[in-house]
Structures are given as C-alpha cells and as structure tokens.
C-alpha cells in the first residue's frame, strides 16, 4: 500500500479507464435527482482502487457506468480509449462480455446450477467450445480454491464459498477489470479477509485492475488507492 496522489489522477500514465465530466440525472424538472454532478476519474491498468462514500453519494451509479450497465447523462467515459457513450446496448454487452468481470454483494449466482456451470456461463456467451470451457472453468475454480466443490449448487455452499465462485466466474474470461460492489458486505470478518486476499492476489499475479466499492475502512485498506465520493462528486483521494 503505497502513497497515492492527491486527486483522481493515478500514479502512472495511459489510463485504462477515463471519466471526464460525467453526470447522471434521474427524472426531470423539479423532481430531477442528480446522482453524479460531474466527476473526473482516471484508473490505470493494474491498479487496485477502493471507492468509498456514504449512501447516496453516487458511488453505485459510478460503478454502473464503469460496468457499462448504465450510460452517463453527459460527459465521456473512455475505456481503453474507446468512447463507451457511443456504443449501442448490444456493443456494451459485448464489452462487458470480453473485458469486464462482476462481483456483487449478493453473489448473484444462478440457483440450482452447479458452481462449475456458474463459472462456465460467461464462456458460453463467448461461444467457447465445450471441452475448452470446462478446462478454463476448472482452472478458475482451482485459482479460488474450490476444486472440490465444483458440482455443488449455491444452496449447498456457504456465503464465502459462493463469493469465491462469483470471483472465479468474474476471472474466467480473463478480463481487464473486475468491478466489485461491496464484495464482503454479506460475509463475516474471516471470510471477508479471504475474499480480499483473493482479489489482491488476482490483481498482483494476473495484473487485473480491481475497482471495488466498500464502506468498511478495513477492507478499503487492502487497496492501494481510495477514491471518496460525496454528493455526486469525487472528493480528493487518499492512499496509504
């Protein structure tokens, strides 16, 4: 955990993710809700960034935009230099398919489906053939230490195990970025540390950029850079 810069600017150059003047407004007129009021944010490849802020600060909205699940009302979002705002719904889906991995607070695994099949899901959409798919899914499960649990359904797994399956699923496509929304929110302290160790390992060993929302400073401490959101704006940054 090194010292970071004072604002949304990263230590290195060649930003993987570049947000410029991004706003998000819901509703219209007097009922308009400004979730984001114009944020600038750069994230370089290989970074591990924690996003913190009180509820309503816009951090989830920003994550949705980073994840190409939502589009900004104004401003630009460049991913590897590509302007995401100009992409169609289908094109954004393809971007998610190939470059992004998601980890959610609620795990969001398919019920009544085995861990292996859950991890294979992104590869099915990528049209990877059966044997290749299985091999890569098995590798991903091994990377998170769940080889023995491949044939178990989420109902048969603990919260910590489910989250590890979710991380395996996020990894299996070899994404550029993993976006994690409160990944330890539903887990106890011991499991939370396991999950954070795993994310750090993925970041360190595979160079996967990790952007995670958390409200626990202990968890944020695992990241090299912390970005604070307040009232729809990025408020300085702190590194430790």
């Amino acid at each position: 955990m090194d010292a970071g810069a004072a604002s949304g600017q990263p230590p290195g150059s060649g930003a993987l993710i570049e947000l410029r003047g991004v706003t998000k407004v819901y509703g219209r007129g007097s009922a308009a809700m400004h979730a984001l009021r114009g944020i600038d944010l750069d994230i370089a490849a290989g970074e591990m960034v924690a996003v913190m802020g009180p509820s309503g600060s816009g951090k989830s909205t920003a994550m949705n935009i980073l994840g190409c699940l939502d589009a900004p009302t104004s401003g630009t979002y460049r991913f590897r230099g590509l302007d995401v705002g100009g992409l169609s719904r289908d094109q954004r889906a393809l971007l998610r398919r190939h470059a992004l991995g998601f980890v959610f607070q609620g795990f969001n695994l398919l019920a009544r489906t085995t861990a292996l099949e859950n991890v294979e899901l992104p590869l099915i959409y990528q049209r990877v053939s059966g044997p290749d798919r299985r091999r890569r899914a098995v590798e991903a499960l091994a990377a998170v230490g769940l080889t023995a649990w491949a044939r178990h359904t989420p109902a048969e797994l603990s919260g910590g195990q489910q989250q590890r399956v979710a991380i395996a699923r996020a990894l299996v496509t070899d994404p550029a970025v993993i976006l994690a929304d409160e990944p330890t929110g539903n887990l106890d302290t011991a499991r939370s540390r396991e999950i954070m160790d795993l994310l750090c390992a993925m970041n360190r060993e595979r160079g996967i950029t990790v952007v995670m929302i958390t409200h626990e400073p202990d968890m944020a401490a695992y990241a090299r850079r912390v970005v604070h959101f307040l009232d729809g704006l990025v408020a300085g940054a702190a590194g430790e």
């Binding site: 949705n64 994840g67 699940l69 939502d70 719904r89 289908d90 889906a93 393809l94 971007l95 998610r96 398919r97 190939h98 992004l100 998601f102 959610f104 969001n108 695994l109 398919l110 019920a111 009544r112 899901l121 992104p122 099915i124 959409y125 990528q126 049209r127 699923r169």
Partner: protein
C-alpha cells in the same frame, strides 16, 4: 448457442414438470382434436366415395321434369317403354338401359306385413345399379314381356317377411296381386344418405304397369355408360334423342333432367370435406387457447427469473440471446404439447374409427401440419414474454428479489 438454449429449455421445463404439463394441455387437446376430426372426416369422405363407386359412377339417371330437388317432379310428361327402347337402339355407348316406375305399398306374406317400395323394371336395372343376386335368378325374357307376377326382393324385405328362411319360391301379396319370389338381392346396407338400400321389391315393369299402377308411365330411366366412352358425349346424345322424341323446340328448355352420378359423388364428397374443414377449424380454436396458456406462464416465468436475466445481461448476454433463450423454451413447450397431442389423437382416432365403423386413414400431412402449427404457436405466443425478458434493465433486474 442454440444447443445450449435447448438444453436450458429442457431443464427449465423439467424443473416445473407439473406446471409445464398443465400449460401445454390446451395445445395437446387442440392438436389432438384437429387430427381426430380431420382423420375421421377423411375416413367418412373415403367411405362416401367408395359407396358411390359401388353404385357406379358411370350411372346416369333420367327423370321427367326440371330439377326441383330430391324426389320432386313437375307435370312434364312421363317417359314410356318406347323411349327406353329408342335409347337402347340409338345410343350405342350405353351399356344398360333400365326403365323404372315405383310405388310405395305394403307387402304381405303369411301373417307378416311390411311397408316397402316396389319398383317395376327389367334386368338391366341390376346391371345399371350394380346389384347382384344372393339367391334365385333374374327375370326371364318371357316374364318381362308378358308381365308375369314374379318378383325379386331385397335383404330387408326378406328379413321382415321371412326371417332367415329362403324366400325363393315363396309368395307375397302386393295390393291385389300375388307374386312368386324368384330371386333375393345381395345386401348393400345403408346408403350414404342414410336410406336402407335393401328395402325394395323388384318386378317386371309391365307387371307393375298393368296389374298395379294401371298406366304406361315410366318414372325414371337408369342408364349406365360403357367404360371408356365419354360421359359428356353420351349425355349429349341422350339429351338430343329425348328432345327429339318429346318434340322440344330448339329454343326450349329440356322438360327432363339427366343427372350424372359424378356430380352427386363430388357434391357429397365436397360436403364432407367442408364439414371436415369446419370441424378442424373449430378444433384449432383450442390451439389458440393453448397458445395463450403458454404466453401466460412464460410471462410469469420471466418475472420469476428476473434476477437470473439480470445476471445474464450483466455478464454480457445480448438482447437477442436472451430473446432466443425464452423463445426456444416456449417453442419446446408447445412442440412437446404437439407431440403429445399427436399421440393422443392416434389412439383416439383408432378407437373412434372402430366405434363409428369409419375407415381409419392416416394422413401424414395433417400430422406434420399440426406439429408445425404447434411449434408456430410457441413462437407466436412466446414472443411477448421473450421480448420482455430481453428488454430488462440489468441494474433493475439485479435488484429484483
């Protein structure tokens, strides 16, 4: 991708086996009903056709008077035996010319009586109307010429008057006339119009004219055309001859009708075909109801799986891939219903055909059509739910309970 969608669809359907079954019940019944109706209808049509074939489609029926509907005639002059003789002489394309006159009366034998129809004619009648004798003999020339009191009876008349006894040689009384039975007709059963064909008594036409009716009238002339001869040409020849004999002017209409059995055959077949189509259409309504059932359940299913759809979208599923997933599910459901309906129909049609004594004719075409139709219903009624699934907002969907 398609293979995967199929596997997913099968798995999902098996997951809710009872619900899936109840959903497709409408389709099962609809398909089964359509196939049974059409199969039985086709069997009935075939039966009608073969009965008419048995009558002889080269049969012509000449009656006095214009077409006025079944059994009715106007006051045009009746034919005479001389007309029949002329036809025999001058139209060589005719194989048999049978003049006939009929009257309804009661036949009495011993202490049995039976009200029946007596037809005076000659042996050509047997040929023209494809009758064979089960016992006895046809009329002799002298019996025909002299108008002797002899008769040939049908199977129903024999049954009513003589039970199982051999009627040949017995006597029966018609009005004041006592006749000897010289022959028994082979049974034909019910006609396609529901009349008992075996309820008749034949006698020489001269006998009927002189001893019972008291006139020289011939009500109808049955003609059969030699095979290989042109029906239309023969009809034209017959009409020309009769117009001449009845002194009908060039500009006047015929005062008689020549009815062609082909017309009747196709009319009857046409009627049963229309009925079959109508029944089939009514049964198709059930298919539509089945489709609505599928749409209903698919909508529920999409709502239930909102979270799952959100996950798939987040992971990178495109709209059309989600659409495909649910469309395939709907089509698999409905096709399965079609398959079950076909099996049900085959069983039911076999049973019913036996019970109704209608030939069982399996038409591969209607089965294929019904199956395709059921698949189409799946696409049609699965479309709205599938589109709803595809259009979900992933963020909203992931928040769903």
């Amino acid at each position: 991708m398609l293979g995967n969608s199929l596997l997913l669809a099968l798995r999902e359907i098996r997951r809710n086996a009872l619900r899936s079954f109840l959903t497709i019940l409408g389709i099962v019944i609809g398909v089964a009903a359509v196939i049974v109706m059409v199969t039985l209808g086709q069997g009935a049509t075939a039966q009608v056709r073969s009965q008419i074939q048995a009558l002889g489609t080269n049969l012509l029926i000449v009656r006095p008077g214009q077409r006025m509907g079944p059994g009715m005639s106007s006051d045009a002059p009746r034919f005479s035996l001389a007309d029949a003789a002329a036809l025999r002489r001058e139209v060589p394309a005719l194989a048999a010319v049978a003049p006939a006159a009929s009257a309804a009366m009661t036949a009495v034998a011993g202490n049995q009586n039976w009200s029946t129809s007596v037809t005076g004619t000659d042996n050509a009648y047997l040929a023209a109307r494809s009758w064979t004798l089960a016992a006895g003999r046809p009329f002799t020339d002298s019996e025909l010429r002299a108008g002797r009191a002899v008769c040939i009876i049908g199977a129903s008349v024999r049954r009513e008057l003589f039970g199982a006894l051999d009627p040949v040689g017995q006597r029966l009384r018609l009005k004041k006339l006592s006749c000897e039975i010289v022959g028994l007709l082979e049974a034909k059963g019910q006609s396609s119009m529901g009349m008992d064909q075996d309820d008749l008594v034949l006698m020489p036409i001269r006998t009927l004219q002189r001893r019972i009716a008291g006139d020289q009238d011939v009500d109808v002339i049955y003609l059969s055309v030699r095979p290989g001869r042109s029906m239309d040409r023969t009809i034209a020849d017959v009409e020309r001859l009769l117009r001449e004999r009845r002194h009908i002017g060039v500009l006047d209409d015929d005062d008689f009708t020549v009815r062609d059995m082909r017309e009747i055959a196709s009319m009857l077949a046409g009627t049963t075909t229309v009925l079959t189509s109508l029944l089939g259409a009514v049964a198709s309504v059930s298919l539509l109801v089945g489709g609505i059932g599928i749409m209903n359940i698919m909508l529920v299913s999409v709502t239930e799986r909102t979270r799952e759809i959100g996950i798939r979208l987040a992971i990178g599923a495109r709209e059309r891939e989600v659409l495909m997933q649910f469309l395939v599910e709907a089509v698999v459901l409905s096709s399965f219903g079609g398959l079950l309906g076909i099996l049900l129909a085959l069983g039911a049609a076999l049973l019913l055909a036996g019970a109704l004594k209608v030939p069982f004719i399996l038409d591969g075409g209607i089965i294929a059509l019904a199956f395709l139709f059921s698949a189409a219903v799946g696409i049609l009624f699965g479309w709205v739910p599938a589109r709803r699934a595809a259009r979900l907002d992933p963020i909203e969907a992931l928040r769903h309970e």
